[in-house]
């Protein structure tokens, strides 16, 4: 034990980091308890609302057939969206080498983890039958974007968890070594488990660092994939407003934008609650604010790029959707989003006298709320549009059930974050220790995140998924030559006789009817021919074959190709008087060769593309999981030899 203390004290240049990180570990303050209790009540109310909804049906949440997708799917998109903020601050800034991120990473990663879990949880109220969710695994349909939503969210959650876990190894080891007594038994056990075998050797640190880099590289395209596939759940259907090629990148930017805003809020909250002013400074907020408004400007641009083509062409569906946003049923919400969600934040960050912590926090609150509103608009407006009548049905109406659950989601995020950082340190201790105080100043101005080569990997994945949108046009014509018809009204005193013969020659059948009156042929009258079918009636259902006039020998004959083989009755009828009963003659015909006009269609264009794509995607998912697991294994392996023989790290280097 003493040797450990010695070795850690050497590295602990800023013991205050440890002290600060452990602030939430003490006895909870009254404020904390009241807040936690309040949040827990809200969460419980949300769960109660869900149980009520389960019993009564989704109608109580305001859903109708003209708002079949509404608030819960918007919540899924919005909450999983904000989790991307963690990925930006941690992964992108890590890869960009922006060391100022250090005090924020743990908070950002924790936010990412908590929000992705809460966001994914909103899939449950979204489903009509959540009890059957296991069907997504045991009889999944890989052609469905919703299936890939599940895969993407699962993969991303796992990656987020790994990304959260890896840097905890040295941190927990440090805490175990420096302040074992203040940790309490539960945390001690957990930390021993997480950090078992960690001694902080050069090799261990090297492996951990490179593993973290690998996970950071993987997590960025994963986050892109999650938000893209969420977008494709909408864009892969032919509804106006949803069926937009821009939606995947639009969702990704939306996620980044609102995610950075949430990181700002979480950082502000913890800074205030646990007095982290020494670590998280105005500089951090300003830099995050710059990133946020840059993304906001991009989102503003994409909004314009989304709406312009729809409105310009004037196709009725897309135009109605754009009209609804600008001047119609959701216009109030849309303009609120545009002003409060993109313009005001930009102004607040741009103006020097509001570019302070307060101003930036207000801007972030506006962004988080406005982006949620935007998601709700995007979902409910198109959902309410009826493509048959080209008009809007009744749009979604909020009810206490859906509102309670959404508020409970927000409360759950806050509560889980408060609890999470009572368990694990809220500051990334080792990373902050490793950065000398001078490093902070030296990298001033290197705040902008840069996209690196993994963007390409995401691009490949995205491009491949796009192929899923296979559009096929089919058209096979099959027409028979029209038959000439002539009408002749004949009135006779005695009843004529119709005799019928039917002969099969190859697939073609010739049916001949002879009309005679007192043994004399009757020329120039119309004979109608029918064949019997067993279809749609077990008895004698007569299918018209056509009509033909008799020639001078009293004979009329037609040729036809039967659709099915088998025996049938051929009937020829002739109306001697306009209003009287027909004269009927029949013959039996056993068809042995038939040609049905029905033929299966040739496969659509790109018919096999979906399968190929799914195959590739499965491969990609497996590789991603392999990479992530490999990083954990790698780190564990370098920890193993030392851990042998003792549960505690005893050796220094």
């Amino acid at each position: 034990m003493s040797s450990v203390l010695e070795s850690t004290t050497v590295r602990n240049e800023h013991p205050d980091v440890i002290e600060a990180a452990m602030r939430p570990f003490g006895k909870p303050s009254r404020k904390f308890l009241i807040a936690a209790l309040f949040l827990a009540i809200v969460v419980a109310a949300g769960l109660g609302a869900w149980i009520y909804q389960l019993r009564m049906g989704m109608g109580v949440a305001g859903y109708t057939d003209s708002s079949f997708w509404a608030i819960y799917i918007a919540d899924v998109v919005a909450i999983i969206g904000v989790s991307y903020g963690g990925a930006v601050v941690s992964a992108i800034l890590l890869l960009a080498g922006a060391s100022w991120r250090a005090p924020l990473v743990r908070l950002a990663e924790g936010t990412a983890l908590v929000t992705v879990l809460v966001g994914a949880a909103f899939i449950f109220p979204h489903l009509g039958r959540p009890d059957r969710l296991v069907g997504m695994v045991i009889h999944a349909n890989v052609a469905s974007p919703v299936f890939w939503d599940m895969i993407a969210i699962t993969t991303y959650t796992f990656a987020t968890f790994v990304f959260f876990l890896l840097p905890l190894i040295p941190d927990t080891a440090t805490l175990l070594a420096s302040n074992p007594d203040e940790l309490g038994r539960g945390r001690r056990a957990l930390y021993r488990f997480i950090s078992r075998g960690w001694v902080g050797s050069e090799r261990q640190r090297h492996v951990l660092h490179s593993a973290t880099i690998v996970v950071a590289i993987v997590i960025i395209p994963l986050a892109v994939s999650v938000h893209s596939v969420l977008a494709w759940a909408f864009a892969l259907v032919s509804r106006p407003g949803w069926h937009e090629s821009i939606w995947a990148p639009y969702f990704v930017i939306a996620a980044l934008y609102s995610g950075v805003a949430l990181v700002i809020l979480v950082a502000a909250g913890f800074r205030r609650g646990y007095h982290l002013e020494a670590f998280i400074t105005k500089k951090h907020f300003v830099r995050l604010g710059y990133i946020m408004v840059a993304l906001g400007a991009l989102y503003f641009y994409l909004t314009f790029a989304d709406l312009l083509p729809s409105a310009y062409v004037g196709e009725i569906g897309p135009t109605e959707i754009v009209y609804g946003m600008l001047l119609g049923s959701v216009a109030g919400w849309f303009w609120l989003f545009l002003v409060a969600g993109t313009i005001l934040p930009l102004v607040l960050v741009a103006l020097p006298w509001t570019r302070n912590i307060g101003g930036i926090v207000i801007a972030s609150i506006l962004v988080v709320i406005a982006m949620w509103i935007k998601r709700v608009i995007m979902v409910i407006e198109t959902s309410g549009y009826d493509r048959l009548t080209n008009s809007f049905g009744e749009l979604f109406r909020f009810t206490w059930v859906s509102i309670t659950m959404t508020v409970a989601g927000a409360a759950a995020i806050t509560l889980l974050l408060m609890l999470l950082f009572r368990v694990v340190p809220m500051l990334s201790i080792v990373e902050m220790q490793e950065l000398s105080p001078g490093a902070d100043a030296s990298d001033e101005g290197s705040a902008s995140p840069t996209k690196s080569s993994h963007g390409r990997a995401a691009g490949v994945v995205g491009a491949v998924i796009l192929l899923m949108v296979g559009i096929g046009a089919v058209g096979v014509t099959n027409a028979q030559p029209a038959r000439a018809e002539s009408l002749a009204a004949v009135a006779t005193e005695t009843l004529p006789v119709v005799t019928v013969t039917a002969v099969e020659a190859g697939p073609e059948n010739t049916v001949t009817a002879t009309v005679t009156l007192n043994g004399q042929p009757v020329p120039g009258v119309q004979v109608n021919f029918y064949e019997s079918t067993t279809m749609f009636a077990p008895g004698d259902n007569q299918v018209p074959l056509g009509a033909m006039s008799t020639n001078e020998t009293g004979m009329a004959s037609i040729k036809f190709v039967a659709a099915v083989t088998g025996p049938r009755t051929i009937t020829a009828t002739y109306f001697p008087t306009v209003l009287g009963d027909p004269v009927v003659g029949t013959a039996n015909l056993d068809v042995t060769e038939a040609v049905s006009l029905y033929a299966p269609t040739p496969p659509r264009l790109l018919a096999t593309a979906g399968q190929t794509l799914a195959l590739i995607l499965f491969g990609v998912v497996i590789i991603v999981f392999a990479i992530l697991i490999a990083q954990v294994v790698r780190v564990r392996r370098v920890c193993r030899p030392v851990a042998k023989g003792s549960g505690e790290p005893v050796h220094g280097n």
Binding site: G128, I138, V146, V237, N478, A482, S596
Partner: protein, 289 residues
């Protein structure tokens, strides 16, 4: 009118006897995929659960064991005969115990400049490339070998992806409990062909598939129409009936200049519309005034 019909290949392909067996492929491709990835173990495990192959079972259970070579069901709506009485709608509602807001069959109506009213009954078009089937994450939407699209009410998780995907707004959701099964005149056996409405699942026109092969009973809407506007047909045997007359399907469609609704979306629907509004030109004249 034309705007409703979209820009289908009216001239070339009024009669489109084409079928893409995409649904059958999906299931096969899923297994191939899993196998190709060396995940045959998972496929076997799932198969052992008897779940992966469920779609084949549903197909076999459909229509007294006849295969797709014998029948391919379709429907024809003769708009010349439709006067907007909505008897088809009422019959469907009754037979399937549907609440008023859930209309598997709905009759659209609109006015021309002269104020004359036009009608068009719309229901599930039994698409042969059904967008609803593709997006269903749990394979609860199925396509039988005879081209009927059905929903397995016991598999549906209520994701409503199919409602988003259906271009004909043909799907409805059972939002509220209790589902009014008890109101049905005949008790539903709760099959895909004649579902009992379960809370939290989707419903749509099932072509009254429990009446296949329609030898004694026709679909409720077909039987209900006093003007014979609704036809049920079979592409293989080339016959269609409306309960009053029997027609040779291909001739009927060709002579009526039949079109399909929103054909440009690639859905390959199995519902043909004969355009018109009461014109006494060909077609069944009974009941047309």
């Amino acid at each position: 009118m034309t705007s409703l019909f979209g820009i289908g290949k009216r001239q070339d392909a009024p009669v489109d006897f084409v079928l893409d067996p995409a649904a059958e492929e999906l299931d096969q491709s899923r297994r191939n995929l899993l196998r190709g990835l060396g995940l045959a173990g998972i496929a076997t495990a799932a198969g052992a659960l008897g779940l992966v192959a469920y779609r084949d079972e549903a197909q076999a259970a459909t229509a007294d064991g006849t295969s797709g070579q014998e029948h391919q069901w379709c429907r024809v709506v003769d708009l010349r005969a439709c006067k907007g009485e909505r008897k088809c709608v009422a019959a469907c509602q009754t037979r399937h115990g549907l609440p008023p807001e859930q209309t598997w069959m709905r009759t659209l109506s609109w006015h021309d400049d002269a104020g004359k009213e036009f009608f068009m009954p719309v229901m599930c078009q039994m698409c042969q490339d059904p967008p609803c089937l593709k997006v269903c994450p749990v394979s609860a939407t199925i396509k039988t070998e005879q081209g009927v699209i059905l929903v397995d009410q016991d598999q549906c998780i209520g994701s409503r992806a199919c409602m988003a995907a259906c271009p004909y707004e043909a799907r409805y959701f059972n939002w509220n409990a209790p589902a009014p099964t008890n109101k049905m005149p005949e008790q539903s056996p709760n099959t895909s062909e004649f579902p009992s409405n379960q809370i939290g699942t989707v419903g749509k026109c099932v072509l009254c598939a429990d009446r296949i092969p329609y030898s004694s009973d026709l679909p409720a809407c077909v039987e209900a129409c006093p003007r014979g506007a609704h036809f049920i047909g079979d592409l293989v045997t080339d016959v269609a009936v409306n309960g009053q007359s029997t027609v040779k399907l291909s001739t009927f469609l060709r002579e009526g200049n039949a079109v399909r609704f929103k054909e440009e979306l690639g859905t390959n629907p199995r519902c043909y519309y004969i355009p018109g509004n009461g014109q006494p030109v060909g077609g069944p004249l009974e009941g047309v005034r």
